[in-house]
Symmetry: C2
Subunit: 389 residues, 2 copies
């Protein structure tokens, strides 16, 4: 298997954007090309685009071809869109990674894009329901907020996790986002503000939830030979893992505060990278709701099971702690343009490991991790490192 | 790079189906498992699902997880949906292929599914427009039929290709489909019937167009080690190529009767497989419209450029000819449930190379090819063989 590295990254502004799908693609694509001047669009052998529902939000499928053309890329080896709900971008990185690792390509862009906001807010909210099983769950109201709220309630009952601890995740991530020019929210927040925001699905208040966000992000992935030509600071893909327990809530282990698939995905990625949780300096985890970050601490091994609430309360997931989690602001602070999220996480890790994260820089970051769930029972983890694997 | 083989295949009934998305998945998945009894759902390490627009047609994204759960698969290594309009299934095969070739997995199902028919025929037709650039072309009426009609008109003007020759593609494929229990159309047809069917987009008459079809298909792909355990007749993936000239019509070479990207994709696949066009015994090409099959003969090297019309007229693409093209009935005879098409093509090649194609069997078929376009400027080709590459 060949070694694979990220050699460039760019992120467009996340938010409620008065921009077309194509505008968002141009913005992130250009930022990505600007980050690695040695690469011209025509040098790329392919493009993979992570995107969930352009068919609904822009009446447009076939989005990798649209993106290729918009960016002047002429795929000679691969072109495809990937979709895996909230993990769509990261499964796209894995597509390009596998192609390059197998020796089938050398230089590929992976772009994530989503335009979720619609003229009607109701339509935008309704669209998010496509990610949940329509026949058996979504049609009865079991969309993402109540699903994750069940995990939160169980975690509170079983481990004593508090609303305040969940709010601390939001405060940390909003305050991180305030230092990120690409984030949806850039004002920071306070514990009081989070706890006084309106209730969405008990115990989640508005500020504990990721918003409906438009945005795009891109990375360029290369074989070792190409990476060496293009940059003296490649960021290597050291490990990856994906695991699925089930799609519908009813198929999962009855204790929703345990996410075994995340544990397995993390262990697979750690094993492949030859590292353990203690080696991780920066982690971009999937805080779609505040409880998800707390459970991710535990399943990824940053703290013991049940200790996630106390982990954030003690500041151990912030600068100066055990591991800096979500320095770019996470999904709660940056927003969650589904297909773009995994790519923006990879971009943040890329900048952190290269020492280019500006006011968000984590000193001497050498190993970075990204995590996405696409439901409580489905997880994907990537491990990136400065050192050649 | 590790060798990769197809070890099982199953196809559900194509047609206007009174079935849910899940029903179609169950049907094809079960048929696929039945074809390789040594594989149980829990043995699979992952699933890739090719599907274009479940968001529109079933208000459902996240379809690989739905399929995994429906079939009792617990992905431990990969799960993703792929979309590339009409090539969505084949880019899914390439995802699994790259994963296995890189040594990242050993045993993966690739399933394609599409439920295109809707209560309203207008809605179903409208949905197909998502595959074309909405902002710059589809909104002005330049959807798939007129696009391909421009190619047909140019081919007629430049090479003397006739309506009768295009109709012969339809007759051949409809008559092949009559021997395929999974095909949408099973009555066969005549030249007169094709030429008297109503005009859709000059020069395409109804019977020269692939219909709006529901359906699903699945294959199981394995590493060499696993394949040897599971079957004594693996069908090897010997080569693959993908190339893109452009997405919008205005970005293409002005002579729409030439499809250089198909030529390049074919050449890449031939080179990788170490074969040439004369070695191909069976080809499943993307006859979304009759002209597409004629141009595919030429760009894939089965005949000289401009000779495609005469190639079919002489019977050279039928049983007893140079290469049997579309023995299952093609998109015109089988229908075209977008994401399922590439998988059903692979299944047909799998059966043909194993000598299991029943009344459609091509004697001593040793090399098979599949081709999909997703627009005139975008093509993907796979080469399969009985011999270990």
């Amino acid at each position: 298997m060949k070694r694979v590295a990220v050699v460039g990254a760019g992120v467009g502004k996340f938010g409620v954007r008065k921009a077309s799908f194509r505008d968002l693609i141009w913005e992130a694509g250009k930022a990505c090309f600007d980050s690695v001047p040695a690469v011209k669009p025509k040098d790329l052998q392919g493009i993979v685009v992570g995107s969930v529902m352009p068919e609904r939000t822009a009446f447009q499928s076939h989005i990798s071809s649209l993106a290729a053309e918009a960016l002047g890329i002429k795929p000679s080896h691969l072109s495809a869109r990937t979709e895996h709900m909230c993990a769509s971008g990261t499964v796209g990185i894995r597509y390009a990674y596998a192609f390059i690792a197998a020796g089938l390509a050398d230089l590929v862009m992976v772009l994530g894009v989503e335009k979720l906001n619609q003229p009607s807010a109701e339509e935008a909210i309704l669209n998010m329901g496509t990610g949940v099983d329509r026949e058996w769950e979504a049609s009865y109201g079991l969309t993402a907020p109540p699903c994750f709220a069940l995990a939160a309630q169980k975690h509170m009952a079983k481990y004593g996790t508090t609303e305040e601890q969940m709010a601390m995740v939001s405060v940390k991530n909003h305050n991180h986002a305030a230092k990120n020019p690409y984030a949806h929210f850039q004002k920071g927040t306070t514990l009081e503000q989070v706890l006084c925001s309106r209730m969405i699905s008990t115990p989640f208040r508005l500020f504990m939830c990721s918003p409906i966000t438009d945005g795009a992000a891109a990375v360029i992935v290369a074989s070792e030979e190409r990476a060496r030509d293009l940059t003296d600071k490649p960021v290597w893909i050291q490990g990856t893992g994906q695991a699925l327990d089930g799609f519908t809530l009813s198929s999962l282990h009855e204790d929703y505060s345990h996410w075994p698939a995340l544990k397995r995905a993390g262990e697979a990625a750690y094993q492949m990278a030859g590292i353990g949780p203690a080696d991780v300096d920066v982690a971009e985890v999937h805080d779609c709701f505040a409880i998800a970050e707390i459970i991710a601490y535990e399943e990824l091994g940053f703290c013991d099971k049940g200790e996630g609430g106390r982990f954030v309360e003690k500041g151990l997931s912030d600068y100066g702690g055990t591991v800096v989690v979500n320095p770019r602001g996470g999904l709660i602070g940056c927003g969650h343009p589904l297909g773009a999220t995994g790519i923006a996480q990879a971009a943040e890790v890329f900048w952190q490991l290269r020492g280019e994260a500006g006011p968000r820089q984590i000193p001497e970051a050498g190993i970075g991790l990204t995590h996405n769930n696409s439901g409580m029972g489905e997880h994907v983890v990537m491990v990136y490192g400065k050192e050649r694997p």
